[in-house]
């Protein structure tokens, strides 16, 4: 009897053995197994295979990754990248040149551009310019 696809039956059996919801009911699986010799053979093979997997466990590794990671983070923190400041400088220069153009009469909104540029710089650097440095307060 091959009314049910063998692969679907084996998939459903794997799901059931793994404690998951199977797509087929136990009755459907049983009915298929009664009629399919290949799948009965697969059940025996799978049981042997499952026994091996059940006994196995992961090899552990006792490496301490922190010293290297810590060093890398320190290097990263001490490296001040110059590119964002160059970008900001160029943007401000372009803004100034645009503002100086005699033929243009931009609205008041243009005055917000430098603020937006500096805001974007602080967001990029993940710095809060309004944050109070508690260490300096303590020193007073």
């Amino acid at each position: 009897m091959k009314a049910l696809n063998c692969e679907n039956v084996l998939l459903a059996m794997m799901a059931a053995a793994d404690g998951e919801k199977a797509q087929l009911s136990p009755e459907e699986i049983k009915e298929h197994l009664n009629a399919c010799e290949e799948c009965r053979y697969e059940v025996v093979r799978t049981q042997r295979f499952n026994d091996i997997l059940r006994q196995a466990s992961r090899a552990e590794s006792n490496v301490d990754l922190w010293p290297t990671i810590s060093r890398r983070l320190d290097q990263q923190a001490s490296t001040v990248s110059w590119q964002p400041y160059v970008v900001v400088g160029v943007l401000l220069l372009v803004y100034k040149l645009f503002e100086l153009l005699p033929t243009h009469r931009p609205g008041w909104a243009i005055t917000l551009v430098p603020l937006i540029i500096f805001g974007a710089l602080f967001v990029f650097l993940r710095e809060n310019p309004f944050k109070i440095n508690s260490e300096l307060v303590m020193e007073k």
């Binding site: 692969e7 084996l10 998939l11 794997m14 799901a15 793994d18 404690g19 998951e20 093979r45 799978t46 295979f49 091996i52 997997l53 059940r54 006994q55 196995a56 466990s57 992961r58 090899a59 552990e60 590794s61 006792n62 490496v63 301490d64 990754l65 922190w66 290297t68 990671i69 810590s70 890398r72 983070l73 320190d74 990263q76 923190a77 993940r126």
Partner: protein, 172 residues
């Protein structure tokens, strides 16, 4: 430093610029990260490099981490990205005496351990990854779907075919 700092507190401190707080996360998850990276890459040296890079990626991306979720499943996605990037650049390493995936102190005979280790190492990385996550870590299909970023139906079929390949290699 307190040994009892939870992940959320450590992450919050890291976001406020305290690098040292990241140590809690590294020390808590490095063993897991190493075993998972070893299972994907098949050797410890590359696994160590990948795990280190993944922790640094995680540190840089902490601002985008949703603290209502668990750290490790989120970190695992970064780790596997690192592993697969590294794997694309490197050849499979030759088999050595030491096992990197299967523990030698399991109740199995040493030949069985070696046979399972070799069979796992001869699988495709993705097959090896899903089999070890399922049968060594005991993850559910939903958890596998989250870790591997694939639908649950794909988890089932990928696991099914990976198991069959492993079974065939073990029976050879």
């Amino acid at each position: 430093m307190s040994a009892l700092m939870d992940d959320g507190t450590a992450i919050e401190k890291c976001r406020n610029g305290e690098h040292e707080a990241f140590r809690h996360l590294v020390e808590r998850y490095q063993r897991q990260a190493m075993t998972h990276a070893s299972a994907i890459l098949g050797n410890r040296e590359d696994a160590q490099d990948a795990a280190q890079e993944a922790f640094i990626d995680a540190f840089r991306a902490l601002n985008s981490f949703d603290t209502s979720r668990s750290f490790y499943p989120w970190f695992y996605v970064l780790l596997r990205n690192r592993c697969y990037k590294m794997a694309a650049r490197k050849r499979e390493t030759e088999s050595i005496d030491e096992t990197v995936i299967v523990a030698t102190d399991s109740p199995m005979q040493s030949e069985e351990v070696r046979a399972l280790e070799n069979a796992l190492l001869s699988l495709e990385r993705e097959d090896r990854e899903i089999v070890t996550l399922k049968y060594f870590d005991g993850l559910s299909y939903d958890e596998l779907a989250e870790r591997l970023q694939i639908p649950k139906g794909t988890v089932m079929s990928r696991l099914f075919h990976a198991r069959r390949k492993l079974q065939a290699k073990l029976e050879r």
